[in-house]
């Protein structure tokens, strides 16, 4: 029996190379685990029927010497990323019958590496939410406490890794959708620099915000996956290669926007753990500098204008004509309105209506234009901060995993869960959530996470500093 709980990509790769186990054995171990755990956790929407055939097909690469680091590594894929010939539904009823017409660029890249796709995992419908409660296929539960959410929108991607139902996974992040569930489930999640990874073949939500990224148990695992999926792509005009930069050297200088942290609404367990982490970093000789970023407090307001505006445009393509399901009515207009009214979920409808409002004549200047102006101010806060520090640190989420149903009746309280994460999307910088400890709530050990933010294209600094944070945890 393979010990999945301590397995990493490099360990798996070594074992596969030495022949300690085969790709087939590895895939089978994960499938068994999924079979036992998924009925309670609901991370997977579908486990692919051909996993063992996929394993069989890539095993030969270990025999003929063409195996790459990711060959045979079992992946879970978020349900909004297209894999040709397989169902992809963004956990929405409107795509209940949709079969992907082509591979997303990230999928073609992983295919070349020879990974094994275990299945597609749950999410908030069209990635709109922070708890996976907005899935049309039921909530994903937190592997650390089944009464609590796994976070979202990539709740399935995070829970799949946390329950050892996949070694690594892909998610998408528009306002924290990779980092927040990673934090709540006790795993590592990376939101990549805007443009660093092609979005071709991921269902668009907020096109100036969306990014694809990996989730894994260790910083190194996310780094390996990141290196396999990055790069400019002719099919995504916003993608680009990183400009040349010199590698970071010496000790890290870390910035913390303390005034932003102390504005209330943050759980005591989160603040205590964050301060403890800072103390441990200082003990290692890392300089922690109070870094005022006065416009961060407006991030959520900016986000909840720009994101719905972009959502309302992107969701226009779901009309019951080109793909997905259709509710047949008396004329074309009613075909549109009933298909969209009945098959899109409540949160998706809410965001489309809100986005339609902020973009409508007479309100565009008051909302959309002003939000863009303040977005530039927030970007400037980061630019100034990175003149003095290498990394900006905050908690990832203001609370540990919350109870299922606790926030679903009040959209604003749910939106507040994104307070620390939306900024990276607004500015386009990369950010990494790393486990930083646990909070005890009602006798349950709930994971906490710390968020590292670096300048554009400096994922390398996130990985380097992320490994330092990881080591703090293991030595405490």
């Amino acid at each position: 029996m393979i010990d999945l709980s301590t397995l990493t990509i490099k360990k798996a790769h070594e074992a596969l190379k030495k022949g300690d186990f085969t790709v087939w054995d590895l895939a089978e171990s994960y499938l068994k685990n999924i079979e036992t755990k998924n009925k309670d956790i609901n991370a997977y929407l579908e486990v692919f029927a051909d996993v063992m055939e996929q394993a069989e097909a890539v095993q030969r690469r270990f025999a003929d010497g063409t195996a790459a680091l990711l060959t045979g590594i079992p992946f879970a894929i978020k349900d909004n990323i297209l894999i040709e010939g397989r169902r992809a539904g963004a956990a929405s009823k409107i795509l209940a019958d949709y079969v992907a017409s082509y591979d997303a660029t990230v999928i073609s890249k992983l295919r070349k590496e020879g990974v094994v796709f275990l299945g597609r995992v749950n999410m908030d419908e069209f990635a709109m939410g922070g708890s996976t409660e907005n899935s049309a296929y039921g909530v994903t539960k937190n592997p650390h406490d089944l009464e609590r959410v796994a976070g979202g929108s990539s709740g399935g991607s995070a829970a799949a890794v946390a329950m050892d139902g996949a070694l690594v996974s892909l998610g998408s992040d528009t306002g924290g959708s990779i980092r927040q569930p990673a934090s709540l489930c006790g795993v590592v999640g990376l939101k990549t620099t805007y443009g660093r990874v092609s979005r071709h073949g991921v269902m668009a939500m907020g096109s100036s915000l969306d990014q694809i990224g990996p989730i894994g148990k260790t910083v190194e695992d996310t780094e390996i996956v990141f290196n396999a999926i990055l790069g400019k792509d002719r099919y995504d005009s916003t993608s680009q290669d990183a400009p040349a930069f010199s590698k970071h050297s010496g000790t890290f200088k870390v910035g913390v926007p303390f005034s932003f942290m102390n504005q209330g609404g943050i759980d005591k367990s989160v603040l205590d753990n964050f301060n403890e982490t800072l103390e441990k970093l200082k003990a290692k000789g890392i300089e922690v500098i109070d870094t005022p970023m006065p416009n961060l407090e407006y991030s959520l307001s900016v986000y909840y204008v720009l994101m719905p505006a972009e959502v309302s445009s992107n969701m226009a393509r779901f009309d019951g004509v080109k793909y997905g399901s259709l509710v047949k009515a008396k004329d074309l207009l009613e075909d549109y309105t009933l298909t969209r009214g009945q098959l899109l979920g409540k949160e998706v409808r809410r965001r489309i209506i809100l986005g339609t409002y902020v973009l409508s004549a007479g309100y565009y200047d008051a909302y959309y234009h002003k939000a863009n102006q303040v977005r530039a101010l927030i970007a400037d806060d980061f630019r100034k901060a990175f003149e003095k520090v290498d990394i900006v640190l905050t908690p990832t989420s203001p609370t540990p995993a919350f109870k299922i149903g606790e926030k679903s009746a009040d959209p604003i309280s749910m939106y507040l869960a994104d307070i620390f994460t939306v900024t990276a999307n607004l500015v386009g910088v990369p950010a990494l959530s790393v486990p930083s400890g646990i909070a005890l709530k009602e006798g349950k050990k709930l994971p906490l996470g710390i968020q590292l933010t670096a300048p554009h294209f400096r994922e390398d600094m996130l990985f380097e500093f992320g490994k330092i944070v990881e080591d703090l945890k293991s030595t405490s």
Partner: protein, 95 residues
């Protein structure tokens, strides 16, 4: 103040049918969200009118792929088709 009538207008524009009960809930929820984001008015006071923070990226409209090579692959995903076309209901009525 967002009224039920406003929501109906927005739903028409967005091509979404809403039940009556949802119109009232949405009116109060959207009111609350707009109440929250009102701080942007103040925050933007000192902001430059324009910035070069975001730009659009375009490509030249050239080198298209050969006509028809993806047609079948895409049409097969549609809920209703007629041969090489998407099938939709008549848009203009006689009456």
């Amino acid at each position: 103040m967002i009224t039920r009538k406003d929501i109906e207008k927005l739903a028409d524009l967005a091509r979404i049918h809403l039940d009556d009960s949802e119109k009232d809930t949405l009116a109060s929820e959207i009111d609350a969200i707009l109440g929250y984001v009102v701080q942007l008015q103040k925050a933007s006071q000192n902001a430059p009118e324009k910035s070069d923070f975001l730009r659009n990226v375009f490509r030249d409209d050239m080198s298209p792929h050969e006509t028809g090579i993806f047609t079948e692959q895409l049409l097969v995903a549609s809920p209703d088709r007629a041969g090489q076309y998407f099938k939709v209901k008549k848009i203009l009525n006689q009456d």
